[in-house]
Symmetry: C2
Subunit: 245 residues, 2 copies
DNA sequence: CCGGAGGGTTTCATTGAGTGAAAAGCATTG
DNA sequence: CAATGCTTTTCACTCAATGAAACCCTCCGG
């Protein structure tokens, strides 16, 4: 019950894609940033005490306490009898709402059948990923049914740099109608994991990526080719089915 | 594509159950509250422009702009080409994480089979609800398979006051082992909707409620009794199965 | 081609809201 | 019961958030 580990450090606090603002640029909202940081650490770590959360977010405990209280009052967090904070009902409400409408809901819906098919055809776990700044986030999956399989990456974020998903998500929107190319990589995040990835297009560019993830020694030769073909096929059909919703 | 309506107004901003603080009590974090309010309105409304969101949250546009920018930089929101804000990848990441761990994840997992069984036995939609301040939030469902059925309340919040869920969630934790009582109500939120609800217990008290919701004219006589019995049965078995996880 | 309306964005002087060091509580533990 | 570790309260200082006003768009209708 102490998850940890699933959390990759957030990107540079300014968020601007790529230019050197003097780091503490013009008047941002400090308390607000900190509150969000606390919300993030508490939720992605599953549960945290005041001191843990404060340390993780780099905030003095007295200040962190005030912020955590605010979040608790609003129902975004709850405090259990042992004093540990974790997700609250109000956050769950919003989280659920974010899946019903909003751009990602559409994408997830459009990708669902494709993920299913990928898992069946390749026998490996299939994931849907989207870009988040300089990272990629896995937002949906259909797992392989093998005993040895890739699991638990939904909600995880990985760097774009040096990963297959990253390359796919950054690939220039090849004119619509042109088949995208699959990207293949082994061991970028974890050794012995091979990723076969293809981008999902839309008129405005790349909006997501489909990944097939599995043990490196299994995704080779014939099976690698099957995966490569399947991923590209499904990416194309997902792109079109997303277009007409 | 303009959902609206699903949003019930939040409770009193200070969150303290029931006492008249002088409204601008001791040093809470204004900007943080506003940022959270904006996040909430934007996400629960699906998509909103600067002016809409600012108006809805009661904030001057210049300030709202700064806050929305912060949220966008962090990836919690995105801005589409038409200038409308909606959920961003970073928020989705956290939202997903909140389902994997955290207290509600456990509850949802424990309740899933029960919801399934309720939907089968009663032929109506079954929901799981939890308390959020002075409201109840529906956080999971298994829908009826009838043509006419109750749908779309996941993520919705309703007042505790005067509703069946409310009564169930507020019911005193009758000593463990004692069968809970079902609460039945018609038309509290929408006319022609009947709710049959029973509380889910844990040692510390009531932690959630199971609701069977359907058209009032269908849930009567024999079928009402079936629903009442089923809801209580399933609530009890969910309570125990939640206890030993 | 112009004018005006309805967004969005920037500026900047003002001040009160957020800050955090320190001290005081409150459990747990040896 | 002294020691340790976590939480909570206090309070004086000041920097960070604020919002009215001015500016800048783009989109319309005349």
């Amino acid at each position: 019950m102490k998850p940890s580990g699933l959390r990759s450090d957030r990107m540079a606090p300014d968020g601007a894609p790529s230019d050197g603002e003097p780091s503490s640029a013009l008047h941002k909202s400090r308390s607000a940033e900190r509150v969000l940081a606390l919300l993030d650490t508490v939720i992605t770590s599953g549960a945290a005490t005041l001191t843990d959360a404060a340390a993780e977010a780099g905030i003095p405990t007295s200040t962190a306490l005030r912020h955590l209280r605010l979040l608790t009052n609003r129902g975004y967090l709850v405090r259990d009898d042992r004093g540990r904070y974790s997700v609250g009902p109000a956050f769950v409400r919003i989280a659920l709402a974010s899946f019903q409408w909003g751009p990602y809901a559409r994408l997830m819906a459009a990708a669902q059948p494709g993920l299913q098919r990928l898992a069946e055809v390749t026998g490996e776990s299939a994931y849907l990923a989207v870009r988040d700044g300089q990272e990629a986030v896995y937002i949906a999956t259909v797992e392989s049914r093998r005993a040895i399989r890739h699991v638990g990456w939904v909600g995880k974020s990985v760097p774009l740099e040096g990963t297959a998903v990253g390359e796919a998500l950054l690939s220039e929107a090849s004119a619509l109608g042109v088949r995208p190319k699959a990207v293949i990589n082994t061991g970028a995040i974890e050794p012995d994991v091979t990723a076969v990835v293809a981008p999902i297009h839309e008129s405005s560019g790349v909006i997501g990526a489909l990944s097939v993830l599995g043990p490196a020694e299994r995704i080779v030769g014939r099976r690698l080719e099957v995966a490569r073909a399947a991923v590209v096929d499904v990416a194309v059909s997902t792109s079109t089915s997303f277009g007409r919703v």
